[in-house]
Amino acid sequence: MNLESMYQEIILDHYKNPHGRGLREPYDAESFQVNPTCGDEVTLRVKVDDGKVADVSYEGQGCSISQASTSVLTDLVVGHTVEEAFTTMDAFVELMQGKGQIEPDEDVLEDGIAFAGVAKYPARVKCALLGWMAFKDAVARTTNGVETA
């Protein structure tokens, strides 16, 4: 195995210098997600204004992959409409579940394409998706009105 194929420079950069980290107010909904096999966890908040993702803030503990992918997530969704964000999410999920067979589209996924190598390691796919699951869940909670702060 070529370690570099999983740990691309971009991933290590995001891991060491995460974007948007920390929990911020105000927010509309929060989601707590955990990976039961390794104990990684993330708490993620979203603020949605007029159908746009105004802010994503988060904290958590986890491996480089889960931390970096959440950092990349904030870059990809903040400032975009929820619809756009979900399209991006779908592309990212598809990439991760593609067993390394899918060619990522840099126009859509930007730094997210660095995770193409992770898709070859099934045990790490969940790590890469942890923040995204929290994002999806948090957004669902805002529109369901389950939680509004």
Partner: protein, 428 residues
């Protein structure tokens, strides 16, 4: 069901037999083995043994846990088996829970229902109490009878049951008295392991749906023997076992409709089925993991996947047609012998590949012994369906059950053996 499709090519039984190493052995001083006890457990082809061995020799590791290559390969092998088995029975992979045998599968449902009493509001629909009723049938295997008795004992619910007619069918004359608004569960066997009777699933599901009862199907004797499409049958739960379908011991399958498994409280608890564990409280994973506590029967799942592949390659239609042929021959052959009484339907309508019978004047145990002395392995006793035997007024029966590797000449050996038994005990 078991009707022969016009264009189905008969099985190449000789080729199939070559896959089963045990069939070449002899018993009792050199008699060729005539194995007519597949209803109890089937023999295993080299393909299944090989698949399991190959897994253990190359990819063995704990599944869903490690991050190393072996663990990835093992997880992949385990989950891909689930996908293939699901396909084999017309279900989705996440609707299949691996259990140790069919018995555990039925117990799982019964215990989840009593656990609902102290689980959250999500589990409300599974709660049972005094006034609620569980309906089963008199032809059930103990595995689909005792767990429901026990559930009634734990919850105060009441057990009711369909009787069996003289010709070995469910007596449906009082169906509307039995299945009522009080019925919470209707559990019955797809095919009786004693009578061979195939029960009218569609009719019973319709009755249960009308009153909102959950339908639990004991598919132990159907999934191995004819095509079963669980989604088409529209049952809520179904259980079957690997060892009866050319697969390994130590693995069974519980099917549950997705939305039910999602709402159902856990049964066995421990590792791999949790979401978050604190000393004070635990939350649980989504199904099927929620119902698979501890290290699973990993290599057995791989073996069962190979068994499903093996049967699929033959074609379940052809399996059923072959058993139909053998059963017809057995019914004809045994039917000709004075003093032999078939227990179960004597015609081939809605009937599967096994024949139970008694010989007047010879106890089944003694009949079995004579057959054994001739190399013919049958099962004698009540076959874990004691109430059914009582209903049929016989203490025990002799059962010959057929599978893909049996031949018409083995049916002849059975019929001749029965005549020998009569001779030996002086009743012919």
């Amino acid at each position: 069901m078991t009707t022969t499709t016009a264009n189905s090519v008969p099985l190449d039984v000789a080729a199939i037999r070559a896959d089963f190493p045990i069939l070449t052995r002899t018993v009792r001083d050199g008699k060729p083995l005539v194995y007519l006890d597949s209803g109890a457990t089937s023999q295993k082809p080299a393909q299944v043994l090989e698949a399991e061995r190959r897994f253990l020799e190359t990819s063995n590791a704990a599944v869903h846990r490690g991050a190393h290559q072996l663990a990835e390969e093992a997880t992949d092998a385990y989950e891909s088996a689930r996908v293939r088995i699901a396909e084999f029975v017309g279900a989705s992979p996440h609707e299949l829970v691996f259990t140790k045998n069919a018995t555990e599968g039925i117990n799982l449902v019964a215990y989840a229902m009593s656990n609902a009493a102290t689980a959250g509001p999500e589990a409300e629909r599974f709660k049972l109490g005094p006034g609620d009723e569980i309906v089963i049938t008199e032809m059930e295997h103990h595995a689909n009878l005792v767990p429901w008795q026990q559930l009634c004992q734990r919850t105060g619910a009441t057990l009711k049951w369909f009787s069996v007619t003289a010709d070995g069918r469910l007596d449906l004359s009082n169906v509307d008295e039995l299945i009522t608004e009080r019925t919470k569960v209707l559990a019955f066997t797809h095919q009786s392991n004693v009578l061979g009777t195939i029960n009218p699933v569609e009719f019973l599901v319709k009755k249960a749906r009308k009153v909102g009862a959950l339908v639990v199907l004991d598919a132990c004797q159907s999934v191995p023997h004819f095509p079963v499409d669980l989604h088409a049958l529209d049952v809520d739960f179904a259980a079957f076992a690997g060892h009866k379908m050319v697969g390994p011991y130590g693995i069974g399958v519980l099917y549950g409709r997705r939305e039910l498994l999602e709402a159902m409280p856990p049964f066995l608890t421990g590792g791999s089925m949790i979401e978050l564990v604190r000393m004070e409280q635990t939350t649980f994973a989504a199904p099927p993991q929620r119902f698979e506590a501890g290290t699973p029967m990993t290599s057995q799942a791989v073996g069962l996947g190979a068994a499903a592949d093996y049967l699929s390659a033959i074609g379940m239609d052809r399996v059923a047609a072959h058993e139909h042929l053998l059963t017809e021959a057995a019914l004809a052959g045994l039917g000709e012998i004075p003093g032999v009484r078939i227990i179960g339907p004597t015609d081939m309508a809605d009937r599967g590949g096994l024949v139970s019978f008694v010989i007047d004047g010879v106890h089944p145990h003694d009949s079995g012994q004579v057959l054994d002395s001739l190399g013919v392995a049958v099962r004698v006793g009540h076959h874990c369906a004691w109430p059914l035997h009582r209903a049929c007024s016989v203490p025990a029966t002799v059962r010959a059950s057929f599978y893909v590797y049996n031949t018409l000449s083995e049916v002849d050996a059975l019929v001749n053996g029965v005549r020998e038994a009569q001779k030996f005990f002086g009743v012919a």
